[in-house]
């Protein structure tokens, strides 16, 4: 399923196509903002400036999907997670490259952009040697 970028979100999806995760930061209050918006949901100010995130974070929760619909029906089982990015925002994603049963809440993950069908989508895989990462 292809996401439909819009005026708020096109820079985000352009970033994903370039293999990086672009978020917004509010110059008014300093908060990172996701998903992309025109107005800061924290201080209701702005402006919101785009920056490139580290692409690393932690699994906040996850589920292994055993029954899916439409184009996803043949992909089961797959793991969907909420990831808390190190910049302080939470996003939904898929966890890939982890053996069955190894995904845990709190585990460190890092961005990997994968083309699924005709869409580039952000996924996360277990972070390699986290102690060596800056």
């Amino acid at each position: 399923m292809k996401p439909v970028p819009d005026a708020d979100t096109k820079p985000y999806w352009d970033g994903i196509a370039d293999g990086e995760l672009r978020l917004q930061r509010c110059e008014g209050c300093g908060a990172a903002v996701f998903y992309p918006r025109a107005v800061c949901p924290h201080c209701f100010g702005g402006p919101l400036r785009w920056f490139t995130a580290t692409g690393t974070g932690r699994v906040h929760s996850y589920t292994v999907v055993h029954r899916a619909f439409g184009e996803f029906a043949g992909q089961t089982p797959f793991t969907v997670a909420l990831v808390d990015l190190d910049e302080g925002v939470r996003m939904m994603t898929r966890i890939v490259g982890a053996s069955r049963g190894s995904v845990e809440i709190g585990m460190r993950v890092q961005l990997t952009v994968e083309q699924i069908g005709d869409a580039d989508l952000p996924r996360f895989r277990p972070q390699e040697a986290p102690e060596l990462q800056k």
Binding site: V4, D6, Y35, S61, T63
Partner: protein, 380 residues
């Protein structure tokens, strides 16, 4: 100054289960006619219309025409399954303000017959950040919350299964319930996994069905044929729309709406005789009981253990079998109000009837734990 009071004076379901002979409109019309007839009121006495649904771009407008009503007050607020608890609150407020005398709240769905529950939607606006990952909704959102609750508090699948088992025990007392065969904790955890940790029997039914609730101002109560069930307090909120936007995966908006409704009613949780708690999934009930404050966060499993929420238990809850076993036509909240009103009127025979029930707490949850609405109902 004394508030002008509002009360539920008529309730009805349309046919529930599988209803290929009905439409979303005919379901609502039949339920509305039955609820008004029970109250001894006519269609022409209705001056406020409430409904929620995705079957029309303007559901109250479509429904009003079908019913032959030109309302003076129209409210199609849709916050998912809890819409009808919100509608009841809105109706009570409008009655208190002197804007209306008689409100009609209805719901109808043919989702089972039309197989519309998982129809594809475009991944636009905020959906572009969720739909492409293939998580089935709403179950996937509740699964993420359940997984986090298990991680934080050690809640187990067996704990959650207790909710489904108790619902089925209540459903055995409800001749209209969709599923009435007894189930065990083992049956629930052995049922097919849908989204870990939620199994098939942790999930609500997918049925057709409709319902109606008639709410009247106190000046009309002498005319009605039923025992009025007063709306003593109400509260509503929504905390997020996408599951990634939920402030805390283990605390719902019930933490705001419960205290607000109780404060308005000037009662406490200890006063509640019967609770009707939206059970879209087993985890929904645990999170709601904790968020309302019936127990501390993480202690929901102890609160429901040992048959406390089953028939004959200390905490009678979901006395019709709930969305897990009675019926669940997409947005179930109207059935919570219907059951609570009947409990407070003493409509049922022994076993299903909660003895001397005078105060009910009704709590709806909608979306992916997104919306919450609480209504406190009492006897006169």
């Amino acid at each position: 100054m004394k508030k002008r009071r509002a009360a539920i004076v008529g309730v009805a379901e349309s046919d529930v289960g599988r209803t290929p002979h009905l439409t979303v409109l005919s379901q609502q019309a039949l339920a509305a006619r039955a609820a008004l007839a029970e109250a001894g009121l006519t269609k022409d006495s209705v001056d406020a219309l409430f409904t929620a649904g995705a079957w029309s771009w303007a559901p109250t407008m479509a429904l009003a025409e079908y019913l032959g009503i030109q309302p003076a007050y129209t409210d199609g607020t849709n916050i998912g399954g809890s819409s009808f608890e919100a509608h009841a609150g809105h109706a009570a407020a409008a009655i208190e303000a002197g804007l209306i005398d008689v409100a009609l709240i209805t719901y109808g769905s043919t989702q089972r017959t039309s197989r519309s529950r998982n129809a594809p939607r475009p991944a636009e606006l905020t959906a572009q950040f969720e739909l492409p990952y293939g998580l089935p909704m709403p179950v996937g959102g509740y699964a993420l919350a359940a997984m986090r609750h298990m991680h934080d508090y050690g809640t187990t699948s067996e704990d959650l299964a207790q909710v489904a088992v108790a619902a089925r025990q209540w459903a055995r007392l409800n001749p209209r319930a969709y599923y009435r065969d007894p189930i065990t904790v083992e049956d629930v955890v052995a049922s097919p996994m849908i989204c870990e940790p939620l199994h098939k029997l942790d999930c609500c039914l997918v049925t057709d069905g409709g319902g109606a609730v008639v709410i009247a101002a106190e000046d009309r109560w002498p005319d009605v044929a039923t025992q009025p069930v007063t709306i003593l307090g109400h509260g509503e909120t929504h905390t997020h729309a996408t599951i990634s936007g939920m402030p805390d995966l283990t605390v719902t908006g019930a933490a705001q709406t419960g205290p607000a409704a109780l404060r308005m009613a000037d009662v406490t949780l200890a006063d509640i005789d019967v609770a009707e708690i939206y059970d879209s999934f087993t985890i929904t009930v645990l999170l709601t009981l904790e968020s309302l404050g019936f127990c501390k966060p993480g202690e929901g499993r102890d609160f429901i253990a040992g048959g406390r929420i089953a028939p004959g238990g200390e905490f009678p809850m979901n006395t019709n079998g709930g969305g897990l076993s009675y019926t669940h036509p997409g947005m179930y909240g109207i059935f919570l109000l219907i059951e609570a009103a009947r409990q407070l009127r003493g409509d049922f025979a022994w076993a299903r009837q909660v003895p001397a029930a005078e105060l009910a707490l009704v709590h709806g949850t909608g979306g992916v734990l997104s919306s919450a609405a609480t209504v406190i109902l009492g006897t006169l």
